[in-house]
Symmetry: C2
């Protein structure tokens, strides 16, 4: 059953967020095939990776999608379709001199990810990209840990900035529908001039549902990834989202062949999606890094031990 | 973050719905360990299986939980805790003479599953169990395919029956939050005297989210299964549900050891949970039987072919 339509935009971040799982080890053929399939599915934006600088952020053995270059993008994509191209940058890890004017770039959108404490730096950076002609978003990460008064103030500043879209980012996969409703209402109250976006994680199997809730509340920029491929429990699956937006231009069919030919083999090599350790960090509203370390160890299914470690107050930390 | 509390009851149907996946091949030790863990987690009811008659419903090689007997239950459970025991029966497959008076039984609750067309038979059967002292529910399956006027009338009849709880059952995993809201409002309008229940499937990763939506709407009987173990895409995971009800008596911790010791090995032997074929039947609002057959075949990952078969109008069926 299809949901109420608004002027939504679907942004597929498979290569960028999925790269956190496979160290950005995607072939150019993989990315090109996915771009063509997403285009046919009506997906509005494809995020190709990070545009951080290897000088400022050294990830050993990371694939090229961690450090996008214009040459790589042009060579991979070839002819552009109606699907626009996006890159994410992190505060302090991007060299502004790497960003050319949009008229010389394959990119249309640059998204700035930051924690609330760095929101001024984030706005400054996004404003520079705006001046270079790009569409811009500011993605406030870990919003479930934000102090409410700080968040309200940051949104008021954002409201007066040139940033096009402000994102609610459920970094820990700890939010339920009612939390999404609360946060979206807050973002709308304090940043009424801005379009809003949503980026969810699936620790508690809420990624798709929370995205639908956000749409109902008026959020228009929707992050998703094919087969949910993304860090830890992954994201809202693109195939589900486009299937429920089928009243307009979206279509799930073009994604089915990439799913069987690209994503099933990929899933056999690397893990993402719902597991109990990711559920536990979601329940506890914590960053999944402890669960990611557990899943990479021989103890990956020792759930009770893991839970005890995360919930036991050590003697020296007791109040 | 915990959700608003009402007087909810969690009913774990792992053995019954999960039995559809492994042909009810659970050892008595498995069931006993799970009962003890569910009791410690505060789960209100455990459904041990079907109380159909092998004379009326012959499933070759089915384990004993497809045909519950008082001896089996007593021997398995031993001493009862605060967690009540439940069995499901299907119209036309249960021999009423197999049901003893509740005072002689380990069972507390008998649930009757039926399609809308059989609702009169379902009410008749549930009324007999009510007269024998049991708590009763009527679970109207495949509600997404019910004709609206028929459903309204059936609910009015149910409202005057002795049935304790009426269930909304999303058999195909095709419902979104707004559908749940719509259906619950309808059930409340036409059967205002009845407590309501919800049974979800996870084809579109909506099982937990739809259960939360139902709670917000006032539904009080909540079906769930550990690790979501259930037919095809499975159910609302018990571990997620109890974790978000932790404000009162519910606790996820006692489920963690069974998850690692019982359910991970089980999942290595049999499949349930989100896969693309189950997502497709959910999107198309169809019974998952075609997807279950596909998953049991060598073509289990041929998603595009599967989709074409389900969506192509054959020449001889065209209008």
């Amino acid at each position: 059953m299809s949901i109420k339509q608004r002027d939504v935009k679907v942004l597929d971040c498979t290569i960028r967020d999925g790269g956190l799982v496979n160290n950005w080890d995607f072939s150019q053929a993989f990315v090109r095939t996915l771009y063509q399939a997403l285009s046919l599915s009506g997906v509005d934006y494809m995020e190709l990776g990070y545009k951080n600088s290897p000088k400022l952020h050294h990830l050993p053995n990371a694939g090229p999608w961690a450090y996008l270059t214009e040459d790589l993008i042009r060579e991979t994509i070839g002819e552009k379709t109606n699907t626009k191209l996006s890159a994410l940058v992190d505060i302090g890890r991007v060299d502004e001199r790497d960003i050319v004017h949009r008229s010389e770039s394959y990119l249309d959108l640059i998204r700035v990810a930051c924690y609330l404490k760095d929101v001024d730096k984030g706005i400054d950076l996004a404003s520079k990209f705006h001046a270079l002609g790009y569409e811009t978003t500011l993605n406030i990460m870990a919003v479930s840990h934000a102090k409410e008064n700080d968040l309200n103030e940051a949104l008021e500043v954002l409201n007066e900035s040139p940033v096009d879209v402000v994102y609610v980012v459920d970094s820990f996969g700890s939010l339920l529908q009612r939390d999404i409703e609360y946060l979206v209402a807050k973002f709308q109250k304090f940043a009424p001039k801005k379009a809003l976006g949503i980026h969810t994680h699936n620790n508690m199997q809420m990624a798709f549902a929370n995205t639908l809730t956000a749409i109902e509340q008026g959020v228009t920029f929707l992050d998703a990834s094919v087969f949910g491929m993304g860090r830890a429990a992954g994201n809202c699956p693109t195939e589900l989202l486009v299937s429920q937006l089928h009243g307009t231009r979206y279509d799930v069919r073009p994604l089915l062949e990439p799913l069987e030919k690209l994503f099933i083999p990929m899933r056999e090599k690397v893990e993402w999606g719902y597991t109990i350790p990711y559920a536990i960090t979601g329940m506890l509203d914590e960053h999944p890094r402890t669960a990611m370390a557990l899943r990479a160890s021989a103890d990956k299914d020792k759930y009770l031990d893991f839970y005890e470690k995360l919930t036991t107050v050590e003697p020296h930390t007791a109040p």
